[in-house]
């Protein structure tokens, strides 16, 4: 059952990340490969704001601490937009499937 549109989630996520950049510059080119730390200049401390913003936008709780723990355990050099997108799609899909069941 493919209910969610990845493109729409990507579009919203990118807008949200751009919005949080220092200069709120919407001209920067962000792709799935863009790293939120190295390329966008975020710090791990931005997790609270990012988490709350995503939850507010999608209007549901998201297990963000688990996501960050997995990232840490996998020793990833950066969290890319693609990683965040996978995390979001998995959780949004889970909610939608629960609701539809």
């Amino acid at each position: 059952m493919e209910l969610l549109t990845r493109d729409k989630v990507r579009q919203d996520l990118i807008e949200l990340l751009k919005d949080a950049r220092e200069d709120w510059d919407h001209s920067i080119n962000v792709t799935d490969e863009t790293g939120i730390f190295n390329d966008l200049g975020f710090e791990s401390i931005d997790a609270v704001g990012l988490s709350s913003s995503l939850e507010a936008h999608f209007d549901q709780s998201l297990p963000f601490p688990e996501f960050m723990t997995k990232v840490k355990e996998q020793n990833l050099k950066d969290i890319t937009v693609g990683h965040l997108l996978d995390f979001l799609m998995a959780n949004l899909r889970q909610s939608a499937e629960r609701a539809a069941a």
Partner: protein, 530 residues
Amino acid sequence: MSKVVLFGLDGATYTVLDDLVARGMMPTLAEFMRTGVRAKMLSVKPPLTPPAWSTLVTGRTPGHHGVTGFFQYDAPDSLSIQLISSRQLVAETIWSMVNRQGKRAGSLNFVAHQPAPKIDGWVIPGWVSWRWIRRLSHPSTLIDKLKAELPGFDVKSLAIDFEEERKAIVGAPIDDYKDWVGLHINRETQWFNVMKHQMLHDPVDLVGVVYDGVDKLQHLLWPYLDPALTPAEPDAEFLRIRSLCWDYFRNIDNLLKQTMELAGPNTTIFICSDHGFTGSWEILFINNWLEERGYLTWKEGTEAVQDDNQELEPSFYRLSAFDLTRTKAYALTASSNGIYISVKGRKDENGIPPEEYESFRRKLIDELLNECVDPETGEKLITNVWTREEIFDGPMRDIAPDLTLALRDYGFVSVRRNRRMLAKRPQILGTHHPEGVLIARGPGIRQGAVIDDVHLVDVAPTALYSMGLSIPADLQGRVLNEIYTPEFLEAHKLRRGEETKAVAAAAGADAPGDEEAEILEKLKALGYIE
């Protein structure tokens, strides 16, 4: 009736304030005390910032408002952990209560307020880094408006800087102290400037602001602030650092003075703290103790920290550090001082059988109280163990830890793995104490009175009473009649109003049954479901 200012001083304690008043460092506070009422303010258990401030602004205990710590389980049957946010604060706040009675409110720097509630007034949440504060404030144009209108406004200085805050917990090099204290002086001034600007240009009837540097300074620099710890012959370095601390509190005093001038004589000001402070000299590695007793098994490869590591928990929770198939009890986060009991069928199929829960819990409580001892002296390390029925009773009870500990030095447990169960801190650091402060001054408030202990839960109903508003029938606190003059009480009869307005729960214990259907609708509305 009067307007109200909640002048929040995170972690403020009479141990420090009385000393500074006596030394003449805080003349405004001295005058405020002389012309107002003071009491010890009892915090929640455990005395922790998110549940404590949430209790103050809702007049409800954590089992009712739903905020139990900085991190908490999403739901009783879930192993998902949430960072605390306004989604978890499921009780109505005082900002909303005054709105419903036709008054406006402003809220600055309160925890668990992100994303900001859409009240009639304005909200800038606390504990949010500067990049996100604009998006998470209310109205959404507020930060841009302040940037345009308020000279010197700097969102980076206003928002919390987590890297700097870590120093309050793990210590910082002495050379950094001057800059670090300066950062907090600047931040408090920024918050005051925002409040002043808003009060002048977008006035409200109730405004609350939290100055959280008090907590941070006391965590890191407690030996310089507690007069009982002052050396008989302090050296130049001690005096220099203490002087920096005094500069911070002088600035707070100045902000109080300006607040009083701004608010005018017809405003009631409540100076309040979410908890008090004291010194912590040791670290209890509680999961090591649970391992020693056979209740916990670390997952292979979980690293042990150095004995003197003062960082009590990893950056994020580490449920993955435990072998849950062989773990019956574990502490998840440091600051909550909580122990979860793994019960088969509750969150997963691991843990003790449900029918053994009561006997297991009783045995664990007994062992924690009597057998968790200092290996060198045999002294008991844990002074109290509360069940969640005792301190989190309410609809959100079952998301809370099964047991909550109070330690002999009031410290926070470490949830990390260590080679030993107990370690001495290299130097005393500040930690939370259950007794904070309440000092009130304004129309109808007695002058120079010291009253018996009050509780955080009493602040919301009392503030509503001072505003001449009715008190929602289901608030758990009481109006503090004893702070008012008999004439004022006679002239202003207490009015009970309708119950607080329900706030949609997150995926909490008593979430509405049709929540899943609502999610589906929301996803449809957002265009995520075709």
